[in-house]
Amino acid sequence: MIRVVGAKGYRETVVADVIAEAEISRATFYEHFDGKHDCFLAAYEMLAGQVFDEVAAQCDWGAPWVSRMTAGLTTIVDRLAVDPALARTVVVEVVAAGADARQLHRNATARFTEYLDAGRELAGDRELPENISLMSAGAVSGLIFDELLAGRADRLPDRLPDLLFAMLVPYLGPQAAAAEMRRVAAAGH
């Protein structure tokens, strides 16, 4: 499902493509799913869960917030870069797959933004807007969306410093975010 949607787009995908790619019978497909939409939702949930688990597994909870976020973003970007079909599915096509897919996407995004929100502490006694993490995530996913539409999934790791800046700047401001961006660029990822 993910490979087909990643290649053809959600709208153009039909169940026949999916069963051909998965080498299963139509009967088997319908034992598991009501149809294309149902199968897509399950595939998306599985993928989002996998990426989230990978990020969580690599997270060093003792490390400072900025390092944790950098490591997490690196994991996500590397994962998307090696699997352009997955990247298109979770970033672009999920928005095309109807209201309940978008709700799943929102829930998945919220799991990541919870991690981001630990960065509020760095703002000291200043109150950051409640929804700052959504704006941080929006800036990151916008950049990724543009790269994917341009067919440059494999180049995403080169954009890591930019993505990092986008993610950190709402919390830290430009100086501190740029310093982190230069540090990661110098480390050569």
Binding site: G9, Y10, R11, V92, E93, V95, A96, A97, G98, A99, R102, Q103, R106, T109, A123, R126, L128, P129, E130, N131, I132, L134, M135, S136, A137, G138, A139, V140, S141, G142, L143, F145, D146, L149, P161, D162, F165, A166, V169, P170, L172, G173, P174, Q175, A177, A178, M181
Partner: protein, 227 residues
């Protein structure tokens, strides 16, 4: 969806009116583009048929196919047209102010008001557009990028702004669209104007840093209290 009175006003008189053909054609095109945004917003892109569009616009099928090759071409033109109108409104509000942070505040306020005025079209423009295929997805990202020049001026205003990453404005535009889309998906289009302070802070901080961004937002809040 009933036709608005406004549309009736720019509908041409029926029968012989002696108007030049290019005027007739332009009026039909504009009517069709507006009708397309309304219908696709209400029915969804996949469920919309060319017949729905010609009926809503009050034009013939022949006229439709003189203007556009198919539904997709018509939708893309309608989308671009709607984005043009929105960007013009934002520009006018932005240009009316002098200091860059005030300009951004005015532009964001106009964007939020415009989207809140028509929740169905706002959802279509920022969220459901992705369901209309790869060409529409590219038009959506191009629309987001049209917000970038407004933010780019922040490089001149902010101390050290010249040293910001090349993509700073793309990120600011992405942050704005990210939060607005989330509100739209949650069905809270009418409440968009209440996000102004948050969006202002989150975009200004990227250029001015946390202290100055908080000051600008604080001034905005006290301005609102005064009015």
């Amino acid at each position: 969806m009933p036709r608005g009175r406004q549309e009736e006003r720019w509908r041409l008189p029926r029968g012989r009116h002696g108007l030049p053909p290019e005027v007739v054609s332009r009026s039909q095109r504009e009517r069709l583009l507006a009708a397309t945004m309304r219908i696709v917003a209400a029915k969804g892109y996949a469920a919309t048929r060319v017949t729905d569009l010609t009926e809503e616009a009050g034009i013939s099928r022949t006229t439709f196919y003189e203007l556009f090759a198919d539904k997709e071409a018509c939708f893309l033109a309608a989308y671009d047209n709607a984005v043009d109108g929105l960007v013009r409104r934002i520009s006018a509000a932005y240009e009316a102010e002098r200091r860059w942070p005030d300009r951004i505040r005015a532009g964001l306020a106009t964007l939020l008001e415009a989207l809140a005025e028509d929740p169905a079209q706002a959802r279509l423009g920022l969220v459901d557009v992705a369901a209309a295929g790869p060409a529409a997805q590219r038009r959506f990202r191009a629309a987001v990028q049209r917000l970038m020049p407004f933010f780019d001026e922040g490089r001149d205003f902010a101390p050290g702004g010249r040293n910001l990453p090349a993509n700073a404005s793309r990120m600011a535009a992405g942050a704005v669209v990210g939060l607005i889309s989330d509100e739209l998906v949650a069905g809270r289009a009418e409440e968009l104007p209440s996000l102004l302070s948050d969006l202002l802070f989150a975009t200004l901080i990227g250029y001015l840093g946390p202290d100055a961004a908080a000051r600008e937002v604080g001034e905005e809040a006290s301005k609102q209290l005064r009015t």
